[in-house]
Symmetry: C2
Subunit: 257 residues, 2 copies
């Protein structure tokens, strides 16, 4: 593990709270134990719903409404939030803005993390333009590509730089989060360089399993896997329908593998 990774510039929002998890280790629940992984994965969804409420001027929200907006049931929401501390008001609900702050803090988004995106193709561009939400908590330190024809082209408000600048960009901006949006054959090489440069968190869009040393956190987003999971359920659904409805709607439009 390299030495260059540090904390990004602090947002400097002070801790207002009294009742909750004000001073513990980051990443731990109010009771001192680590936050459940499943809870962590849902906090961003709650946060988005809360921002949306806040923008509409809603100042207070009950667990029923918030959970509906987030697509989960209310018991789960309450338990998730209770891991952060006791931030609700019984008989009333949650203060929207205060909860935004607490959830942001729990996720570590009171800082803005510099992120480097490797790959300036369609996917890299889509990410860079994702705007709005990505920009809450993140800033794009650079978009890198190996295609010299892309260099200098602006995407969002960042210009594409050559991938040879990778190590410089990471060091100069103290980047700890890297996004890999290159074709599969190039991905492991990019990953190795990111890790060597000090990046310890990687979001991988290339369709392969990256090998990384211990202490490096990889998450993958795989477009085709999601489709395949959908296909599985779709087939089950249609099989059930065919089973039940003896209706000859089968149209074999040939196409072999």
């Amino acid at each position: 593990m390299s030495s260059s990774a540090g904390s990004p510039d602090s947002g400097g929002i002070p801790d207002i709270a009294g009742n909750g998890n004000g001073s513990g280790q980051p990443g731990t629940a109010a009771n001192g134990r680590p936050l459940p992984e499943a809870t962590i994965a849902r906090l961003p969804v709650y946060l988005r719903a809360l921002y949306s409420l806040s923008e509409r001027g809603v100042s207070t929200v009950a667990s029923d409404e918030l959970s509906a907006a987030a697509g989960v049931n209310s018991a789960k929401l309450r338990k998730d939030l209770s891991h952060l501390g006791s931030y609700g008001i019984r008989g009333v609900g949650y203060d929207v803005d205060y909860l935004v702050y607490q959830v942001s803090r729990a996720l570590g988004l009171t800082q803005r993390w510099p992120v480097v995106i490797v790959g300036g193709g369609n996917l890299g561009r889509a990410l860079a333009n994702y705007g709005g939400f990505v920009n809450r908590g993140f800033k794009i330190a650079a978009i890198l590509d190996s295609d010299r024809g892309l260099i200098g082209r602006r995407i969002g408000d960042v210009a594409v730089r050559h991938v040879s600048d990778l190590e410089d960009v990471v060091a100069m901006n103290k980047v700890v989060i890297g996004v890999i949006a290159v074709p599969a054959p190039a991905a492991q090489g990019v990953c190795d360089r990111l890790v060597a440069a000090g990046v310890t968190s990687i979001l991988n869009f290339a369709p392969l399993v990256l090998k990384v040393p211990d202490g490096v956190d990889v998450r993958k987003v795989d477009l085709s896997i999601e489709l395949q999971i959908l296909a599985f359920h779709a087939r089950r659904r249609s099989a059930v329908r065919v089973e039940r409805v003896p209706e000859d709607e089968q149209v074999p439009e040939e196409e072999s593998v």
Copy 2:
């Protein structure tokens, strides 16, 4: 639920097997119970690893190697595969090509599912060009966009059509899977139209929670949520490092309750 959805064209690969799950309901394990959701989510990963082995001419693989390639432990792999049937050879391993077939069949990928992509922006284009793997099991029925400037433009080997063709495309191609790659404000509207047209499986890339009727399956891929989860772990890691820096060997000591 609408009436137009049907099974896609059948691939027509016959069932070779003897020992396993040859004739049961699709989507059920060898024991007749449904496949665990967690298993379904990993099968595509195994499948990719298997394709890779097959292309390299490997004919047999043991659970250790395959599980390593897929990034899981071997017990999990074996249990997952055992849900499909008993397709391994004790003392030897698994026949790669045969397992490719069995996993494909379990996922419903011996058919090629027509998919409609709504949104011809960077994300839609990235999806359409994802190539290779998406094309195993899927074909793009159409890419739709509301921007008339994009109409006719070819992405991969499909031309962009206007979103007003949505209902026609779904009906003509018996599309059951739709991908939403439009900006958030347009997403719910697109979703409603897809559902009304008969689509029952939706892959949503827009950063909001879609409302759909029962019987419609939505999966979401959220670029910013993944980043936020990474940020959480990154912060915990950096906090721990700062905390512990005066490092000596950790003396095993009592953990307080």
